[in-house]
C-alpha cells in the first residue's frame, strides 16, 4: 500500500500544480486584461465620432462591467545606458474600475497618475532599466523619428516613475508602461483619437466573450473590429486543460502500477484463506458475499492509503509554494511563481480514480473465488 500512498501523492500534487498554474494564468490574463477589444478596421485609430458610436452601443449592454478608451503605442524606454522596448498604455486614470486592472498590482509608489508625466511601470522593466519610484526615464517614440541635417532626431520625453506594479505575468511586468490618456495621445501625436476601446465583462459572461464580440461587431456596423480574449488566449487555455488531463492520465498509470501489489496481495490472501473460503461456501455463503468481504477489506486499506497519500501530496504542494530554491522561468511559463490549487473536487477525483483502480485490482484475482470448489479445497 506504500506504493499507492506515493502514487496518490504524486497524482494529487501534479494535478494541483497544473491547476494552480492554470488558475494563476487565468487570473492574470483575465484579471489584468480586458475581455473584449474594439478597433477601427485596418490600422486606423478610433476617432471622436467612432467613440460616440461605440458609447451609444455599449452603454445599453448589460453584460459589460466597465469599458474605457485606451491608447497603445510602442516606444523605447531609456535610462542612461539601459534601454528596453515597451508598450505605452494611455488610460483614463479617473475611471473607478479600469478594464485593464493595474491598480491592484501596484506595490511601491502610487497607482494614481496625478501628474501628466507620471508613469507606472512593471517591476521587471524597472529592474532591467535600473530605476525605481521617483526616478525618471526617457521614452523614445520610434514612429516620430526623422532624419534631419543634424542626424537622426527622435521624439522623446522624460517621464517620472510614480509607481511599480507586479502582476506575476512576466510579459506584462517587463513591457507595460501606464500613463494618462492625454499624455499618451500627445506622445504619439494622434490628437483626439484613441487606439482601441477595452471592455471588461461581468465574470459570468467572460466565457461568452466570443459571441458578444460577434454580436457587437454586427451592431456597430462597418469599419469596426471587435475581438475577444478568446481570440488571443483561448488556444492557450485549451492546450493547458488538455495537458492537465493528459498529465492526470499519465499519473493515474502510476496508481495502476502501484495496484499491481494489490493484485498480488489479494491473490496471496485468497491462497491463505482457502480453507476459510471452503467452509464459508459449505455453509452457504454466496460467491458475491465472499468477494464483498475481500473487497471491503481492501477498500478500507485503500481508503487509508489514499487519505495518507492525499495528505502527503498536500504537504508537498504547500512546500512547493513556500520554497524559494526553484522558481519557474517567467519568460517560458508566463508566471514565475509556483502555484498549487487543491480543491475538494480534485481530492475526490483522485480518491475516486484510486478506489476504482484498487477495486478492479482486487476484483480481478477475486474472480477465482467463483472457480474454487469446496471439495477441492477440503481435499487440500
Amino acid at each position: 500500500m506504500l506504493g499507492v500512498v506515493i502514487a496518490v501523492a504524486a497524482l494529487l500534487v501534479s494535478f494541483a500544480l497544473f491547476e494552480g498554474y492554470e488558475n494563476a494564468l487565468k487570473e492574470v490574463i483575465l484579471g489584468a486584461n480586458a475581455h473584449v477589444y474594439i478597433f477601427r478596421s485596418g490600422s486606423d485609430d478610433l476617432s471622436k465620432e467612432d467613440m460616440r458610436r461605440i458609447r451609444e452601443v455599449l452603454d445599453s449592454q448589460t453584460e459589460i462591467s466597465t469599458y474605457a478608451p485606451i491608447i497603445l503605442t510602442q516606444a523605447l524606454a531609456v535610462n542612461k545606458e539601459q534601454h528596453a522596448g515597451i508598450l505605452l498604455r494611455g488610460i483614463e486614470p479617473d475611471g473607478e474600475e479600469l478594464p485593464t486592472a493595474f491598480r491592484k498590482y501596484v506595490q511601491t509608489g502610487s497607482a494614481e497618475l496625478s501628474n501628466p508625466l507620471d508613469t507606472v511601470i512593471g517591476v521587471r522593466l524597472a529592474d532591467q532599466l535600473g530605476v525605481t519610484v521617483g526616478d525618471s526615464i526617457k521614452l523614445v517614440s520610434p514612429m516620430r523619428t526623422r532624419i534631419t541635417p543634424m542626424g537622426i532626431r527622435s521624439r522623446s520625453r522624460k517621464f517620472r516613475i510614480s509607481g511599480l506594479y507586479q502582476s506575476g505575468m512576466y510579459e506584462y511586468d517587463s513591457r507595460f508602461v501606464f500613463t494618462r490618456l492625454e499624455t499618451a495621445s500627445q506622445f504619439a501625436s494622434i490628437g483626439n483619437q484613441v487606439s482601441s476601446v477595452e471592455i471588461k465583462l461581468h465574470s459570468d459572461e467572460v466565457e461568452n466573450a466570443d459571441a458578444l464580440a460577434y454580436e457587437w461587431e454586427k451592431e456597430l456596423g462597418l469599419g469596426f473590429q471587435v475581438v475577444s480574449w478568446i481570440f488571443y488566449n483561448g488556444n492557450l487555455f485549451t492546450i493547458i486543460v488538455l495537458e492537465k488531463w493528459i498529465l492526470f492520465i499519465i499519473m493515474s498509470l502510476l496508481v495502476i502500477i502501484a495496484s499491481f501489489n494489490v493484485v498480488s496481495a489479494t491473490a496471496t490472501s485468497l491462497m491463505e484463506h482457502q480453507g476459510e473460503i471452503g467452509i464459508l461456501k459449505a455453509y452457504g455463503m454466496t460467491n458475491a458475499n465472499l468477494k464483498l468481504i475481500f473487497l471491503s477489506r481492501m477498500i478500507v486499506l485503500a481508503t487509508i492509503a489514499t487519505a495518507v497519500g492525499e495528505a502527503f501530496g498536500w504537504i508537498m504542494g504547500v512546500f512547493l509554494t513556500r520554497q524559494t530554491l526553484y522558481q519557474l522561468k517567467g519568460d517560458v511559463y508566463f508566471v514565475d511563481e509556483i502555484n498549487v490549487h487543491f480543491s475538494w473536487q480534485n481530492c475526490l477525483l483522485v480518491f475516486g480514480v484510486t478506489m476504482l483502480i484498487v477495486a478492479l485490482s482486487t476484483l480481478i484475482p477475486l474472480r477465482r473465488i467463483s472457480q474454487l470448489k469446496v471439495v477441492e479445497i477440503l481435499r487440500g
Binding site: 480453507g275 476459510e276 471452503g278 467452509i279 464459508l280 461456501k281 459449505a282 455453509y283 452457504g284 455463503m285 454466496t286 458475499n289 470448489k373 469446496v374 471439495v375 477440503l378 481435499r379
Partner: protein, 223 residues
C-alpha cells in the same frame, strides 16, 4: 421415511486420462436420530461419499434425498438448503482466524439470517452448553485442538440442522481429546436426538456408533 437416502450413487474421477471408479452404486440410508460411522482404508472414497451426501459435490449418476425429497439444483437455493439443513465438521477445523469463538459459531446463522446480534446470542448459549463459556472471546490460535473442534461442532449445530457430517473429526487430536469429542457427539445424539454421520478409521470410535459401515471397492458394507 428416511432422513437421508441415496440411490445408486456412482462417482468416477479422471486421473491423467485413466477413469477411476470411486463409488459404484451406493445405496445408503440414515434414520432421524441415528449415529452412523463409515470406516474404510485411506483412499477408499469415504470423503468423496460424504461430500456428495453433504451436497458439496454431485454424483455422476444416482441421487440423494432428504426426507424423501431431492435437494434443489440451482446454486443459490442449494447453498441455502445446506445452510439450513446440514452441519459439517472436518478434520482440519477451518475456523476463521480473524474471528473469535463466538463469532465463528454464529457465522452459519449470520449467513442464513443476516441477524448479527441474535446469531451471537445463540452462539454464546450453544458454546456455554458445550462447556466453552470461558472461551467465548478467544481466537482460534488461543484455543487447543480439542477446544477448536468443540467450536467447530457448535458451529455445525447452530442452525439446528437435520444432520451433521463429520469427516475424521478426531483425526488431528490425541487420544484424550479424541475421546472427549466423541463423548460430546454421543451426548448430543442422546440428549438432542441429533443425527450424525461420522467418518473415521479408528475402530474404537466406530464401535461406539449405533451402525457402522465399511467402504471397500466402491461399495458400503454393514459392519
Amino acid at each position: 421415511m428416511y432422513l437421508l437416502e441415496t440411490e445408486k450413487i456412482v462417482k468416477t474421477f479422471n486421473d491423467t486420462g485413466e477413469k477411476l471408479l470411486i463409488l459404484n452404486g451406493i445405496d445408503f440410508r440414515v434414520e432421524r436420530g441415528e449415529m452412523v460411522a463409515i470406516t474404510g482404508e485411506s483412499g477408499s472414497g469415504k470423503s468423496t461419499l460424504l461430500h456428495i451426501l453433504g451436497l458439496l459435490d454431485k454424483p455422476d449418476s444416482g441421487c440423494v434425498r432428504f426426507n424423501g425429497e431431492l435437494a434443489p439444483t440451482e446454486d443459490k437455493l442449494l447453498s441455502k438448503f445446506r445452510n439450513q439443513n446440514i452441519g459439517f465438521v472436518f478434520q482440519f477445523h477451518y475456523l476463521l482466524e480473524d474471528f473469535n469463538a463466538r463469532e465463528n459459531v454464529a457465522m452459519p446463522r449470520l449467513i442464513g439470517t443476516g441477524n448479527r446480534s441474535e446469531s451471537l446470542r445463540i452462539a454464546q448459549d450453544l458454546l456455554s452448553s458445550l462447556g466453552m463459556q470461558h472461551r467465548l472471546n478467544h481466537y482460534p490460535n488461543q484455543l487447543s485442538g480439542g477446544e477448536q473442534q468443540r467450536v467447530a461442532i457448535a458451529r455445525a449445530l447452530i442452525n439446528k440442522p437435520d444432520i451433521v457430517f463429520a469427516d475424521e473429526p478426531t483425526g488431528n487430536l490425541d487420544a484424550k481429546h479424541s475421546n472427549e469429542i466423541i463423548s460430546l457427539i454421543e451426548e448430543l445424539n442422546r440428549d438432542m436426538k441429533q443425527t450424525f454421520v461420522i467418518i473415521t478409521h479408528d475402530k474404537s470410535i466406530s464401535s461406539r456408533m449405533q451402525k457402522s459401515y465399511t467402504m471397500q471397492d466402491g461399495a458400503l458394507r454393514l459392519g
